[in-house]
């Protein structure tokens, strides 16, 4: 056994997915309960700026004297919350479009596919930058741009799943037995699709966090003083040489959450693998 295969086996044994679930739950629990009202995330205290860690400020303070830990935890709520909102909106818009395009076919399908091709011709980041640049900076516009970029993926995936499933005899038999298109969609096709959507969504989760953070970092997303992680990175840029820890904290937070989300997505993808699903 090669070294690589051996280490992969050991990683599988270690149940990294379980660790990442626990990590996400613990982070969420801390973010939503711990230190709930101890500090105000936007309250400045210029006399105590760039302070070292103390009991009152476990991670020190930033360039305006705000408590870093409080901002970091609020940032978790914001970053994760925003990406969940964007994800939900993309799924809610994408799935019905995909179902319609797959089942109806004809001009509905063709029109939809051309729009999708148009979106897919550019990298996600570029479209998001252009859109939020056009609409003006701000977290609302950024989320709108991200949803507009992401829904296409869901619609395309649902469409292709529908197209392969509709060919199968059980759909024909359901039609023969007089079920309406809507019932077939809901009872015989949707359960197939939900698994795939779940996998794609969990893989996208990390990507969307990165997208929000990176666009906030270049000033197109959340604006100061919002404690969004990307915006925090941006704010601490001028103090990088004297106080590098100001950039390390939000950076590490992003890495941890994105990594956990990706590992979880990979696990779900293996778990929902269609080829393994229908074996006697």
């Amino acid at each position: 056994m090669s070294v690589l295969a051996h280490s992969q086996k050991r990683i599988k044994k270690a149940k990294v997915w379980l660790i990442s679930i626990i990590l996400l739950i613990v982070l969420a629990a801390i973010a939503y309960t711990f230190l709930y009202l101890k500090h105000d995330a936007t309250m400045t205290d210029v006399g105590n700026r760039l302070a070292s860690p103390t009991w009152g400020h476990p991670l020190g303070t930033d360039h305006l004297g705000r408590d870093v830990l409080t901002r970091l935890l609020l940032g978790f709520r914001l970053t994760v919350g925003y990406s969940l909102i964007a994800l939900a909106a993309a799924v809610i818009i994408g799935v019905p479009f995909g179902l319609m395009a797959g089942l109806r076919g004809g001009w509905v399908d063709r029109l939809f596919m051309r729009i999708a091709d148009g979106f897919l011709a550019f990298p996600d980041t570029v479209i998001a930058i252009v859109l939020s640049g056009l609409l003006g900076p701000g977290i609302g516009n950024l989320l709108f741009a991200i949803v507009l970029v992401k829904w296409v993926n869901y619609a395309r995936m649902v469409r292709s799943t529908v197209l392969t499933e509709v060919q199968k005899d059980y759909v024909t038999i359901a039609r023969i037995n007089g079920l309406s298109t809507f019932t077939i969609m809901r009872k015989h096709l949707l359960p197939h699709i939900i698994g795939n959507v779940l996998v794609l969504a969990s893989l996208d989760f990390g990507k969307i966090i990165l997208l929000i953070s990176s666009l906030s970092y270049i000033g197109l997303g959340a604006q100061p003083p919002t404690p969004e992680w990307g915006a925090m990175l941006n704010e601490s840029r001028p103090y990088f040489q004297a106080n590098p820890e100001m950039m390390v904290y939000p950076g590490l937070a992003i890495v941890a959450v994105v990594l956990a989300a990706n590992v979880l997505g990979d696990y779900l993808r293996d778990k929902f693998d269609v080829k393994k699903e229908v074996q006697p």
Partner: protein, 262 residues
């Protein structure tokens, strides 16, 4: 006469897949449609239930109870499906939605066709399972937990659940081994005699045709080239292609017949 097809043409663009086919199926008869792959048998059967894809166009008339089924709107067609016309397919594994049990399928179809009482549904399902020789407990299983023969029985139970007038069996036994195939077919014959439904039996296997059918139509390149009773076609075939088909079929040894009876 229960179903009359008059000048049915199914075309894909300019190409005619089924070309001006006419045939009549009488009540309770076993009508065999024979032909090689690509002769248009399946297209013909799908046109009856309005199951053709959007790229195919059917013209002509399919008369059922004095109405042209081809002109039925979608909702009226849905009422007819299952209740009047029912199908069994070759691919028995694909005939069931993988994440629903046999019982869930049956429940759904019964509910769609207006059987709202739970006790009545239960009774009908039990009866349907027993009529095809399956234990009632099998209904609680998923399709991948049954063997091929059991699945084909279950799909017959599902197809006959609402006692349709016509059952269309499209290559229903092609994927089974020959002993199981004969068991399934003799089961179908029993059920046909009990319930009196007509069967449109589509196959390319001449042995099955000779054994079970009442009437035979031979199809080639989208056209029906010869049609008539079994006696006539088997003993006095007129068309050269029919003769060829008969000669190409292997003869059936006696002992397999005995096994299939047991």
């Amino acid at each position: 006469m229960i179903l009359a097809i008059e000048d049915l043409t199914v075309s894909h663009g300019e190409k005619k897949i089924v070309d001006k086919v006419s045939l009549t199926i009488d009540k309770g008869e076993w009508f065999a449609l024979v032909g090689q792959s690509g002769s248009g048998k399946t297209m013909l059967s799908q046109a009856i239930g309005q199951l053709l894809g959007t790229n195919l166009r059917a013209s002509g008339r399919i008369m059922y109870q004095g109405d042209n089924v081809l002109e039925y709107p979608k909702e009226k067609m849905n009422q007819l499906r299952g209740k009047a016309i029912s199908y069994i397919f070759q691919d028995y594994h694909g005939s069931f939605t993988p994440f629903l049990t046999i019982q869930q399928h049956m429940e759904e179809y019964l509910q769609t066709h207006g059987v709202h009482q739970k006790t009545q549904r239960k009774e009908m399902m039990k009866e349907a399972m027993e009529s095809v020789g399956l234990e009632a407990s099998f209904a609680k299983r998923y399709s991948f937990q049954l063997s091929g023969g059991q699945l084909q029985r279950a799909s017959i139970a599902l197809a006959l659940l609402l006692e349709p007038d016509i059952l269309i069996a499209d290559e229903a036994t092609t994927a089974l081994d020959s002993v199981s195939a004969h068991r399934i077919l003799s089961l179908l014959q029993d059920l046909q005699q009990k319930k009196g439904c007509a069967i449109l039996f589509i196959t390319h296997d001449w042995r099955h045709v000779v054994r079970y059918s009442d009437k035979i139509a031979v199809m080639k390149d989208g056209k029906i080239i010869e049609t008539g009773t079994k006696q006539k076609l088997v003993h006095q075939p007129e068309h050269a292609y029919t003769k060829q088909l008969i000669q190409a079929a292997p003869t059936l040894p006696m002992r397999i017949r005995e096994v299939s009876k047991s």
